[in-house]
Symmetry: C2
Subunit: 231 residues, 2 copies
Amino acid sequence: MAFPGRDKLAVILLSGGLDSMVAAGLAQEQGFRLAALTIDYGQRHRRELESARAIAAMLGTERHQILSLDLSTFGGSALTSDTPVPKEGVGADIPVTYVPARNIVFLSLTLAWAEALDARDIFIGVNALDYSGYPDCRPVFITQFEVMANMGTKAGAEGERFQIHAPLQHMRKSQIAAEALRLQLDPAKSWSCYDPQADGRPCGLCDSCRLRREGFAQIGHADPLDYATNL
Amino acid sequence: MAFPGRDKLAVILLSGGLDSMVAAGLAQEQGFRLAALTIDYGQRHRRELESARAIAAMLGTERHQILSLDLSTFGGSALTSDTPVPKEGVGADIPVTYVPARNIVFLSLTLAWAEALDARDIFIGVNALDYSGYPDCRPVFITQFEVMANMGTKAGAEGERFQIHAPLQHMRKSQIAAEALRLQLDPAKSWSCYDPQADGRPCGLCDSCRLRREGFAQIGHADPLDYATNL
C-alpha cells in the first residue's frame, strides 16, 4: 500500500453520512492528515451534524469546523423547506431533495479553507452509481470543478495544483458499506436519513435510507441503525 | 440599444463597491430585473454592506438578500484578520488582501440562489485591468466557472444554460467611473475602501482606494468620497 498523502494535510467535506465517513477513512489510509469541514446549512436532517462530530472524534481529525450557512433562505429544495421528502423509492429524475448548487457551494468552501490552511488536497464522498442522480455528484462535474479551482485561486494560478479526490466515485453502495467495515469505521456513527422521525430514528424510506440499507443488505451485513419503517 | 434581458430576472453579486454598482446598472440597462446578493463574510470593511443596501434601494432591485458567511474563521487574508492592509500602492504580486477562493465561493452562492429563483443570468463586477491581480477576477476563471456551473446544477444538466456576465471585465477603472456617471449612479453611494478609518472615512491609500481615485481623476471628475488621506 502506497501512502501518497504521507505528512500532507487534506480537507474533507464531512456531512456525517456514511459516504463522507468512508471517504475520510480512505484519505487517512492513504496517509493524509485531516481537517474536516461540516456545513450547517439549514438542512432538515440537522441530526447529521451530531454524527459528523462523532465521526471526526472517532477518526481523530486534527481540526473539525462546523460552518453556518443558511441555504434555507434561498429555498428550492425539500431538504431546506417544508416540501415533503419523497418516500416511494429512487426514481429516474433528479428528485426534489436536490439542493441548488449544493456541492458547488460546499466544495468552494472546502477549497477556501484548504487554501487558507496551505492544503492542496480535498476529499469529497460523492458517488455516481447508487445515488439520486444529483448532477453535482457526477465525475464530469468533479473534474470541471478541479479545473476551475486551479484557475480561480492564488495557489492554483501560481502553479500549485489543487486536487479533488472523490474515492467513492465509482463504487456501488454495497462496496462503500464493505469499505466501512474493512476500515473498522462503525456505521452506527453515521447518519444518512433525509427525514429524521419525531422519535429520533431514521425514516427508512427516503432515497438515502433505501440506498444505504440496500447496500448493507447486499453484503449480508445488517445496517446497525434502528429504522422507523421496515422495507 | 438591444434589450437582451427584457423580462428576465438576473442575480447580481452586489458588494457595495463602485464596480458591482455599475455592473448592476448595466444589467438593468440591458433590461434585466435584478435580485441582489450581498455577502456579510466578516470583512473588515463591513461598511460596504450599508452601501450595498443604499445601492439596492437606489436601483430598485426586486430583492436584496444579505447572507451571513463567516470566512474569518478560515483566515488567510488581511481582509478577514488583523493583518494590516498594504498602503504603499498597487504592486505586481497578488497582495495579502486576497481572500482564499472568495469569488469562487460568492459566485457559487449566487448560482445557488439563481437556480432556486429560476434565473439563468448572473452578473458580477469583476474587472481585470485596473485591479489587484486577484486570480478570481480573470476572464479565464469566469469562463471556467460558467462551464463548471453548467455541469454541476440541475438546470445546467438539463440543458438550460447559466450565463455569467462580467460586463466590466475589459474596462479600465476610468471607464467604470465614466459608466457610473453616464448611468446616473451616484458614486457617493458606493464604498470601495478596504480599511475604513475610525472617523468613518475611506483611507485613500489601499489598492482599492487608489484604483478608484485614479479612475475618477483620469476622467477629470472628483470622486465625491471624503478620503482621510490625500494622494
